[in-house]
Symmetry: C2
Subunit: 149 residues, 2 copies
């Protein structure tokens, strides 16, 4: 195994760099990276129960619960009881939507800059392969669960 071809290494490095690059943009409006993940997820997919939002953002359950407390205090989101009274539906507030729409063009510009020397085909391939990789991880997870359970 060579470090520079090890997929978790390659992915982590790119992921961390995305964070480093977007952070100053987020700081300008007083938002952190985790909150940003929640904001785009809700903006794109609409109100979600906490569990679904955790899945969607890859943020740990209890971490998310407390993150939502903070976001609620800043009036970025609100929680309202769902039809099933165990679950809450988390939604963007007006403020949350406005903040998201303020960040979004800059985030898009960043992605455009980063992928400037990618062809359309390359970009499509990259996205497709990342999705396939995720699916493979999913299979693997199920395999593990079967072995344990």
């Amino acid at each position: 195994m060579e470090l520079s071809t090890y997929l978790p290494y390659l992915v982590n490095r790119v992921g961390q760099r995305f964070i480093t690059d977007i952070t100053p943009i987020l700081n300008e409006v007083g938002v952190d990276i985790q909150s940003w993940r929640v904001l785009i997820a809700l903006y794109q997919r609409g109100g979600q129960p906490v569990g679904a939002l955790s899945e969607l953002t890859s943020i740990n359950f209890s971490t998310l619960s407390r993150l939502l407390d903070r976001m609620e205090m800043k009036d970025l989101v609100d929680r309202r009881r769902g039809s099933d009274a165990r679950s809450f539906t988390v939604e963007l507030t007006e403020v949350g939507r406005a903040v998201t729409e303020k960040i979004l063009p800059q985030a898009n510009a960043l992605e455009a800059a980063v992928t400037a020397n990618f062809s359309k085909a390359e970009l499509a391939t990259l996205r497709q392969l990342l999705a396939k990789l995720y699916a493979g991880l999913d299979n693997d997870k199920r395999t593990c669960d079967r072995m344990v359970g």
Copy 2:
């Protein structure tokens, strides 16, 4: 912008899943994900000053400094002064090497399982595109630095 095609989203999701999947393997030998990053980096690249190791693992400087304290207490690594007395060279101990070699086959098996339905060509393409993406982020970073500085 659609969430499921947003690169930071795709990358973060895969990265988090890698962490989730390797964690139980690491727990068996009492190692956490950040320590594992340090272990493979040192195993593959040999002794490094803290700064270079931070770059190599994408772990924040001060976080790494304290992580190394803990790893040193567990006798996984040691720090010795470099030729330049400001810097320390961090190296694997015998124990560190042994632990790494214990984890490595399982990590390899995991990667093999995850990429089972990738062709050789697809894998090569994925690695190459991730490297190219990182390079793009690098360019972008330099652009930002220029704008600020």
